[in-house]
Symmetry: C2
Subunit: 194 residues, 2 copies
């Protein structure tokens, strides 16, 4: 049967979850799909474009509706959904971070636009709203890449009790850094919490 883009992305996501980003090569992916390496280049211009499609796949659950929320909660919910989506796939943060840097994920652009809208709601002018949105993204990506690599490092020898304590700790740490940015925005724009 024919090879379609969604099949390729699903197979790539499966390799990612089961073996990690280091094993996600074009050749390995082609082997898993019982196809020659060159076949992938009919559907994707290059590896970066394919990884961008995988990034968009990972980010689908991170696109949420924040209509009706005040700007603080909108930012908090978008960032929380983003982090959850990244953490739900092996090396998800690293892959999305790389795809964002390469400008290959449309979804991450949409998310930045959502964050910019929330910043505008907070009273920021256009340029500042954009800077704010990108700063929030840098934070979530940086934090989550770090968190995920530590988790994988600690994967051996972690007691279930200690682990859950550590996890709630990372939740608090994530919220702390995010609050720093939100409070900074409030201070700058003179907005107040409802």
């Amino acid at each position: 049967m024919q090879l379609h883009k969604p099949d390729v992305v699903d197979a790539a996501a499966a390799i990612l979850d089961n073996y990690g980003i280091a094993d996600l090569s074009m050749r390995r992916l082609a082997r898993e799909l019982n196809v020659s390496p060159g076949a992938l280049y009919w559907h994707f211009a290059n590896k970066q474009e394919l990884l961008g499609a995988v990034a968009d796949h990972i980010l689908r659950p991170a696109v949420i509706d924040v209509a009706g929320l005040n700007w603080r909660h909108a930012i908090q919910d978008i960032c929380a959904a983003l982090r959850d989506a990244l953490l739900s796939h092996t090396d998800g943060a690293e892959l999305v971070s790389a795809s964002f840097a390469a400008g290959q994920s449309e979804t991450v652009t949409d998310i930045v636009a959502q964050l910019a809208a929330a910043a505008a709601d907070a009273g920021a002018r256009n340029d500042d709203a954009d800077s704010t949105a990108r700063t929030l993204l840098y934070y979530v990506l940086g934090f989550t890449v770090d968190e995920q690599s530590r988790r994988q490092w600690d994967a051996a020898g972690a007691l279930s009790d200690e682990q859950s304590v550590l996890m709630s700790d990372t939740d608090r740490q994530f919220a702390f850094g995010l609050r720093l940015l939100i409070d900074g925005l409030a201070a700058h724009e003179g907005a107040t919490a409802p």
Copy 2:
């Protein structure tokens, strides 16, 4: 003559500046040093460790003395020095970002410690000072990776006038995001500017 670590790091930095991170391979580096690829593995355990040494080389001018400065200026100066150091080598931000993620740069750890000390000065308790320091680092790395990749993309067809306008614009954008974090810290800890 014998091969010494500093020679290897210097040669690696030269490849980085002249050809970029994509061309900084162990084999290419060995060729440039007129040595067999295996020779490098006598001095460095693996490529990550070597890149960590290059990262430390890049970061040397970013380690500055902030004694006597108030916490706001300390943070501003450290972050500005860090960004300047990253921008002064081709793909410097990307390389240091990767080395930080891999935990292979001692210098970046020192810089985080300096930032944490400044956050403590601002009134943050130990955990919060650490979170603040890491948040600042995520911001500087994320912003500068982005900035540097855009610069390299725009490398063709940029007028010198427009370019300088864009550059001062990125300076302002960098300062804006940084101020967001500093203001957030001030709001959280109730510190005031002198």
